[in-house]
């Protein structure tokens, strides 16, 4: 069967024609993926033009790190992510928790663990994550100490880190009471009494923690408020200061990393 020659397409009206290609665009059409990319870039540019956040992001993330930086340097980030995990799971646990010492607290924890969808998992993350965070804080501290990273000019960051360690332990202590089972109750009695052994001010500290001379009706809500409002706020603020100083001062090289010989350096440059 003989083939007929294909007729040329009728010319498109000018309004329907694709615009001429921009420089660097061969076919003049972007396609949906390119369009999405352009939209994203437009939004980021819009925010950046008004906030200059991209400079902050570059300053924070694209730093020079010393030679010899290794896996031990990830312990700080690991602690940060442990804290973020605690914060997120804690916020959602607070949706179900009831700080009622006359049985409601224990009942609400039982409800979360046994009946809420994924409740056991989220509560488990929070419960075991607290131990993980304490362990990571100590490992991070040990790394800083053994690598000599607390020395000038980073002493203030060490001090902030010690305060963060104490606050982490306060979180672990106050959170321990919240399930309000036998273990929680007696562990808190013992913990508060250990606080009380400080001379002169210790007994007053115990009274402050309990909200009175005996473990009473407001002790649980006091611990709950300290656990989920007071200390987390302080921790977030101090983590901000900690990260600012890390970014400003940079990290240290491991102690076994030798400083480069300046004569060799000159030779290599020449």
């Amino acid at each position: 069967m003989p083939r007929l020659p294909k007729l040329p397409a009728p010319p498109l009206p000018a309004a329907l024609k694709a615009p001429p290609a921009r420089p660097g665009e061969e076919d003049g059409r972007l396609g949906p993926i390119e369009d999405a990319k352009q939209a994203g870039i437009t939004i980021v540019d819009w925010v950046d033009e008004r906030t200059s956040l991209s400079g902050v992001g570059r300053w924070l993330l694209f730093r020079k790190v010393p030679k010899g930086t290794n896996w031990f340097y990830t312990l700080g980030s690991a602690t940060l992510f442990a804290f973020l995990s605690q914060a997120v799971t804690g916020v959602f646990l607070a949706m179900y928790y009831r700080p009622d010492p006359a049985g409601g607290a224990y009942e609400s924890i039982r409800h979360v663990t046994n009946e809420v969808f994924l409740g056991q998992f989220v509560r488990g993350m929070h419960k075991w994550g607290s131990s993980v965070m304490v362990v990571l804080v100590f490992l991070h501290m040990g790394r800083t100490f053994l690598f000599g990273a607390y020395k000038y000019p980073r002493e203030l960051n060490w001090v902030i880190g010690v305060v963060l360690l104490v606050l982490t332990l306060v979180m672990a202590f106050t959170g321990y009471l919240l399930p309000f089972d036998q273990r929680a109750y007696w562990a808190t009695i013992v913990g508060v009494n250990i606080n009380g052994t400080g001379p002169l001010l210790g007994p007053y500290l115990s009274d402050f923690l309990r909200g009175g001379g005996e473990f009473g009706a407001t002790t649980l809500s006091r611990f709950y408020s300290i656990h989920m409002l007071l200390v987390p706020g302080l921790i977030i603020a101090l983590i901000g200061a900690h990260l600012y100083l890390v970014t400003k001062l940079g990290t240290t090289a491991p102690p076994w990393e030798k400083a480069e010989n300046s004569a060799d350096l000159r030779e290599a440059k020449a």
């Binding site: 109750y185 009494n193 001379p199 001379g213 005996e214 009473g216």
Partner: protein, 221 residues
């Protein structure tokens, strides 16, 4: 050569050649403005910080009222052994507010201490003087034994072993009609001398009673 202006600086802004100075003015307007803005800020911040702080630490200075709890009838307690009774010391918090109290009638042969004279019943608190765990009376051993860290006390509640720093606390007792009642707590030192109630782990012998003062939340003796 010393600067002749360094030693003497006029109080008056006009003398210091500050532009726009008034006659007799000692503080510049800019400085006054800065100072008043800072003061206003400090007052505003203090207006919510100080009440909130006082609100949080207020319970330290508030004394908790004690009530008398009936724990049994006259004659239901022997004078040579302990009987456990349950008393609600802190109302409103369910099981956590209850405690076990070991009761025994006064025994002139045992309770020879002058401070105990006239006490109808001896009521021993189960709160261990080490860190506050609940001790239990073990009849076979004639000892109070703490499950947490191994504190051991004798029949009078005096420490005979383990980490506790003083004898077990006691409660005041009284008889109303036919009822035996348990009242406020008090602490004792190793000679069974009475003190205002102290928290566990706070010694009362020697300098201890001054290092761990009694607090406004607890009844003064």
């Amino acid at each position: 050569m010393p600067d002749k202006h360094a030693s003497y600086r006029s109080r008056y802004t006009a003398d210091r050649l500050i532009p726009g100075a008034f006659d007799g003015e000692t503080i510049t307007r800019r400085r006054f403005m800065t100072g008043s803005a800072h003061t206003a800020g400090a007052i505003a911040a203090g207006a919510f910080t100080l009440p909130a702080l006082a609100f949080a630490i207020g319970p330290i200075f508030k004394s908790t009222p004690h009530s008398w709890v009936t724990v049994g009838k006259v004659g239901s307690f022997p004078n040579n052994n302990y009987v456990p009774v349950i008393a609600t010391l802190t109302p409103g918090i369910g099981e956590a507010g209850k405690t076990t109290v070991y009761m025994r009638a006064f025994n002139p042969a045992l309770d020879t201490d002058p401070y105990d004279r006239g006490t109808p019943y001896i009521a021993i608190s189960t709160r261990c003087a080490h860190l506050g765990c609940p001790v239990r009376w073990v009849d076979a051993a004639q000892r109070f034994i703490c499950p947490c860290h191994g504190g051991v006390y004798d029949l009078l509640g005096r420490r005979v072993g383990g980490p506790p720093v003083r004898p077990l606390d006691r409660f005041y007792t009284r008889v109303v009609g036919e009822d035996v009642q348990v009242g406020p707590r008090f602490s004792v030192n190793s000679e069974l001398r009475r003190f205002s109630p102290r928290d566990p782990a706070e010694p009362l012998d020697g300098i201890g009673q001054y290092l761990y003062p009694s607090r406004p939340t607890e009844r003064k003796l």
